[in-house]
C-alpha cells in the first residue's frame, strides 16, 4: 500500500545538474566580455581580409580543411564533379568514328522518364554486321525529361551510352535546345577527353566474336 502511493507522487528527477552560467564580475560589467568578443571578430576580420586581398585564400576544394574562407564563388570558381557524377549523356564511338550503339532499344525501354527516342536502321545486304546488329538512324534524348537516374547506362549491352561527360545540363533559352540529337551526343567527350570507351568491341569475324546473330543462335 505504502509503496503504491509513493509511486503515484511526483518523481524525483534523476540527472546531472547543469551549472548556471558564470556571473562573474567581468560578465556582469559587460565591458571585458565585449572586448573579448571584439578581439575574436577582429582576428577573423584581419586574417580573412589579408588572405582575400593578397590572393592567399584557401583553395575551396584542395585546402578545405584549413581555417578561413572556404566558400566557392560560383560561377567564377567551380567544384569539379566527382568521377561517378551522372552528367549529360554521350554516345561512345567505335574506332572508325561510328556510334557503338546497336539500336537494341534497351536504354529507351529501361528509361523511366521515356526521354530516349531511337529510330533503328539495318545495314545493307552483304555487310557482315547485317542480322547481327543494327545502327541508330536517329538517337534523340530530351534532356529536359531526363531524370539522370543512369538506368540507360546500366541497360546498355555494348557500353554505347554513358553519362561521364562531367557536364551538368545547363539552362537554355528554349525547350528545343534541350533536344539532343545523335551528332551532338557523339560530339561530347568523356571526362578523360576520349570519345571511345575502355571496353573492347568484338567485331564479326574476330576470334573473340561469339558468332551469334539474330538468325543463328
Amino acid at each position: 500500500m505504502n509503496n503504491e502511493t509513493a509511486a503515484l507522487g511526483p518523481k524525483k528527477v534523476v540527472g546531472t545538474p547543469v551549472p548556471r552560467p558564470q556571473r562573474t564580475a567581468s560578465v556582469q560589467t559587460y565591458i571585458p566580455e565585449i572586448a573579448k568578443g571584439l578581439g575574436i571578430t577582429m582576428k577573423h576580420f584581419f586574417q580573412n581580409t589579408k588572405e582575400m586581398a593578397f590572393g592567399q585564400r584557401n583553395d575551396p576544394v584542395l585546402e578545405a580543411i584549413e581555417d578561413g574562407i572556404n566558400c566557392i564563388s560560383y560561377p567564377e570558381q567551380k567544384r569539379p564533379y566527382p568521377a561517378r557524377f551522372r552528367g549529360v549523356h554521350r554516345l561512345t564511338q567505335r574506332d572508325d568514328g561510328a556510334p557503338r550503339c546497336v539500336a537494341c532499344l534497351c536504354c529507351s525501354t529501361a528509361c523511366p522518364a521515356q526521354c530516349i527516342h531511337i529510330e533503328a536502321g539495318e545495314y545493307p545486304e552483304g555487310d557482315p554486321r547485317r542480322g547481327y546488329e543494327r545502327f541508330p538512324q536517329r538517337f534523340v534524348i530530351d534532356e529536359l525529361r531526363c531524370i539522370f537516374c543512369g538506368f540507360c547506362v546500366e541497360a546498355c549491352p555494348v557500353d554505347a551510352i554513358r553519362m561521364d561527360t562531367g557536364i551538368h545540363a545547363a539552362p537554355y533559352d528554349s525547350r528545343e535546345q534541350f533536344i539532343f540529337e545523335k551528332e551532338l551526343l557523339m560530339a561530347f567527350p568523356g571526362r578523360d577527353g576520349s570519345h571511345l570507351t575502355a571496353n573492347p568491341r568484338h567485331e564479326p569475324g574476330e576470334s573473340t566474336h561469339p558468332g551469334l546473330d539474330r538468325d543463328h543462335h
Partner: protein
C-alpha cells in the same frame, strides 16, 4: 572671420565640397565595409562581384603614371628648390628615410606576390631565394634606425657633411629607383594578361548597388501622407551631412610667411606663429563660435526624419519603429550632451579648432577625459541607430521599423544617413578626444621629440607636408573610429527595449553627470595648485604623446609583419573531385581578387 571676397567664397565652396565628398565617400566605403566585414568574420567571400575591365595598356599606364609623377616631383625639388645650407641636413634625412621606406615597401610587396604566385623571372627567383618577406622588412627597419642615428651622431663633423651629401643624393636616388622599379615591375608582370579586372577590393559593389537603387521602383503606400513620406528621408539625410562643417580636417594653411604665395608652402613655418587672417586658409568649412552646439542642434534634427517616416507610412510597424527611434534618440542625446560638458570645461571653448589646439599643447582628450570618451562613443553608436542599439529597425520584431514602407533610393537614403552619421560622429570624436589633425610630436615647424624639456630628436619639415600629414592623420583616426563602430555592430546582439532605456537613463546619464562633477573638481584643483603641478602635468602630457607614438609605431610594425607573413596551407586529396581539381591546377585559378 575673414571678409567675404571672391577668393574666400570660392574657398568656402571648395572646402564644403571636400568635406561633403569625404563624408559621402566614406559612407559608401562603410556600406561596403560593413557587408565585407560581415563576410570576413563569418568566413564568407562577401560582395565583390562588380568589376570594371580595363585594357592592359591602360592598366600599365595607371601603374606607371603616378610613379612618373613622383619621380618628376623629386627631380623638381632636387633641381629647382635649392636648399639653404641649414636646411640641407633635414632634407638629406627626409630623402634617405623616404628612399629606405619605399625600397623595402616595394621589395616586400613583390616578394609577397612571388610567394603567392610563384617564380616567373630570374628577378623573382633571386627574391624568392631571400626567403621570408619579413626579413626584408626587418632589414628595412634596421636601415631606418641606422640612417637616423648616423644622421644624429655625425651632424657637425666634416665626415658628417659627406654622409649628409650621400644621404641627400642617394636617398633621392633610392626613392626614384624604388618607385620607378616597382611600377615597371608591375607593368611588366601584367603585360601578358588580355585585360585587368578593376575591383578596388570590392569597392565597386556599393557603387553598383547605389546605381541600382536609383532605378528601383519608388513605392508610396496608397494611404500614406505622400508629401511627408517623401520628405522624411531628406530630413534624416541632410543634418547628418552638414554637421561635418564645424569639424576642422587640418591645420591652418599659411601663405603669408616670409615670401607669400605658394612658395611659402615649401618653407618651414615657426612653431608658435599665428597666421594673419588675410594670408591663411582654415581647413574647416565654417568658423562658428557655437561649434559643438551647432553639432548637437543639427544632429538632434535627425530624429524628426525617423519619426516622420514612421508616422507618414500608414503602417503600424513603421509607427512603432518611428516612436522607438524618437524615444531612443532623445534619451541618448542627453548623455551625448552631458559627456561633452566635461570636455568643454577642460578645453575652455566650444570651438572644435580651439579644442584641437588645446590638445596639441597639452594632451589628447582621451587621456584627459577617458570616461567621457567611452560614454560618448556608446551614446553616439546609439544615436546612429545601429546594432546593438537598432531597436527602431528591429527586423525580428517590427519588420524593418520606420523604413518598412520605403523602397529604392529613399530606403537607401535612410541607410546612407545612418552611415554618414557614423562618419560625422567619428570625425567629432577624433577631433575632441583623439586630437583631430594633431599627431604626437608633430608641430607646425616639424618633428620635435622631447620629454620634459630634454630634446631627443628634431627635424624641420616643410609647411605643406606638416599640414597634409596632419590631415591624413585626421582621416586615419576617423576611419579607425568608424571601423570600431562597424566591429561592434558585427560582435554584439541587439538590446531589448527596456535594457536600452535602462542603460541610457540609469547608467550612462548618472555616469556622465559624475564625470562633469569630477572634472570640475579636478580642473579647480589643478588651476589653484600652482606652477609645480602644471609642470608635472606637462611632463605627463609628454609621456602620453610618447605612449601614443610608441603604440602607433608598434602597431604599424606589427601590422606590416602580419601582412608580410607567408601562408602555408595543407592540401588534402580526399575525393575524386579533389583529384580533378588538383589535375586542373587548383580551383583557385579562377579566383576573384577581392
Amino acid at each position: 572671420m575673414m571678409p567675404l571676397t571672391i577668393v574666400t567664397f570660392l574657398l568656402f565652396v571648395l572646402k564644403a565640397f571636400v568635406v561633403v565628398m569625404f563624408a559621402m565617400n566614406v559612407a559608401v566605403i562603410l556600406t561596403w565595409a560593413d557587408r565585407r566585414q560581415g563576410a570576413m568574420i563569418q568566413d564568407r567571400v562577401g560582395p565583390n562581384r562588380a568589376v570594371a575591365w580595363i585594357p592592359t595598356k591602360v592598366a600599365q599606364g595607371l601603374a606607371l603614371g603616378p610613379a612618373l609623377a613622383v619621380v618628376a616631383g623629386v627631380a623638381f625639388v632636387l633641381v629647382k628648390l635649392e636648399p639653404l645650407p641649414e636646411e640641407l641636413a633635414s632634407r638629406a634625412m627626409l630623402f634617405s628615410q623616404l628612399g629606405i621606406l619605399f625600397t623595402w615597401l616595394t621589395f616586400v610587396v613583390i616578394a609577397g606576390k612571388v610567394q603567392t604566385r610563384g617564380v616567373q623571372s630570374s628577378f623573382d627567383a633571386w627574391l624568392y631565394s631571400l626567403g621570408d618577406p619579413r626579413r626584408i622588412f626587418y632589414t628595412g627597419l634596421f636601415a631606418h634606425f641606422l640612417a637616423l642615428f648616423v644622421g644624429l651622431a655625425l651632424n657637425d663633423s666634416s665626415f658628417g657633411t659627406q654622409i649628409r651629401d650621400i644621404g641627400y643624393g642617394g636617398g633621392a636616388g633610392l626613392l626614384i629607383f624604388s618607385v620607378l622599379g616597382g611600377a615597371v615591375y608591375a607593368a611588366l608582370s601584367i603585360r601578358n594578361e588580355p585585360r585587368i579586372g578593376l575591383r578596388l577590393a570590392g569597392l565597386l559593389h556599393p557603387a553598383a548597388d547605389g546605381l541600382k537603387t536609383i532605378f528601383k521602383e519608388d513605392f508610396i503606400p496608397p494611404n500614406a501622407d505622400k508629401f511627408l513620406h517623401s520628405l522624411a528621408p531628406f530630413i534624416s539625410f541632410f543634418p547628418a551631412l552638414v554637421v561635418m562643417a564645424v569639424i576642422p580636417f587640418g591645420d591652418t594653411l599659411c601663405f603669408n610667411v616670409d615670401h607669400g604665395g605658394l612658395g611659402a608652402l615649401m618653407t618651414t613655418v615657426p612653431r608658435d606663429s599665428v597666421c594673419a587672417a588675410a594670408g591663411s586658409v582654415r581647413l574647416q568649412v565654417v568658423d562658428l563660435d557655437v561649434g559643438l552646439l551647432y553639432f548637437f542642434a543639427l544632429a538632434g534634427t535627425g530624429i524628426v526624419g525617423a519619426a516622420l517616416a514612421g508616422w507618414a507610412s500608414d503602417n503600424k510597424y513603421s509607427l512603432l519603429g518611428g516612436v522607438r527611434a524618437a524615444s531612443q534618440m532623445v534619451s541618448y542625446e542627453v548623455t551625448m550632451g552631458l559627456t561633452l560638458v566635461g570636455a568643454v570645461m577642460v578645453y575652455g571653448s566650444l570651438r572644435v579648432d580651439k579644442m584641437i589646439e588645446w590638445q596639441q599643447h597639452n594632451a589628447w582628450g582621451i587621456f584627459v577625459q577617458p570616461l567621457a570618451f567611452f560614454l560618448f562613443f556608446t551614446a553616439s553608436v546609439a544615436e546612429s541607430k545601429r546594432i546593438p542599439f537598432d531597436i527602431p529597425e528591429g527586423e525580428s520584431e517590427i519588420v524593418a521599423g520606420y523604413f518598412t514602407e520605403y523602397a529604392g533610393m529613399k530606403f537607401a537614403m535612410f541607410f546612407f544617413a545612418e552611415y554618414i552619421a557614423v562618419v560625422t560622429s567619428a570625425g567629432l570624436m577624433s577631433a575632441i578626444f583623439l586630437g583631430g589633425w594633431d599627431l604626437p610630436f608633430l608641430y607646425r615647424d616639424g618633428l620635435h621629440v622631447s620629454i620634459g624639456g630634454t630634446v631627443l630628436f628634431e627635424q624641420t619639415l616643410p609647411h605643406v607636408m606638416v599640414v597634409v600629414v596632419g590631415a591624413l592623420g585626421f582621416v586615419l583616426k576617423t576611419l579607425t573610429l568608424c571601423w570600431l563602430q562597424l566591429m561592434i555592430r558585427w560582435t554584439l546582439p541587439r538590446f531589448r527595449y527596456d535594457q536600452l532605456m535602462r542603460l541610457g537613463w540609469r547608467k550612462l546619464l548618472p555616469a556622465s553627470l559624475a564625470n562633469v562633477v569630477a572634472t570640475g573638481l579636478i580642473v579647480m584643483a589643478i588651476v589653484s595648485a600652482g606652477p609645480e603641478v602644471g609642470k608635472f602635468m606637462d611632463l605627463v602630457a609628454d609621456y602620453t604623446r610618447a605612449f601614443v607614438a610608441l603604440v602607433g609605431l608598434g602597431g604599424f610594425i606589427y601590422f606590416v609583419v602580419f601582412l608580410a607573413k607567408p601562408v602555408h596551407k595543407r592540401k588534402t586529396l580526399s575525393s575524386s573531385s579533389a583529384e580533378y581539381a588538383a589535375a586542373a591546377g587548383g580551383t583557385r585559378s579562377a579566383r576573384m581578387s577581392a
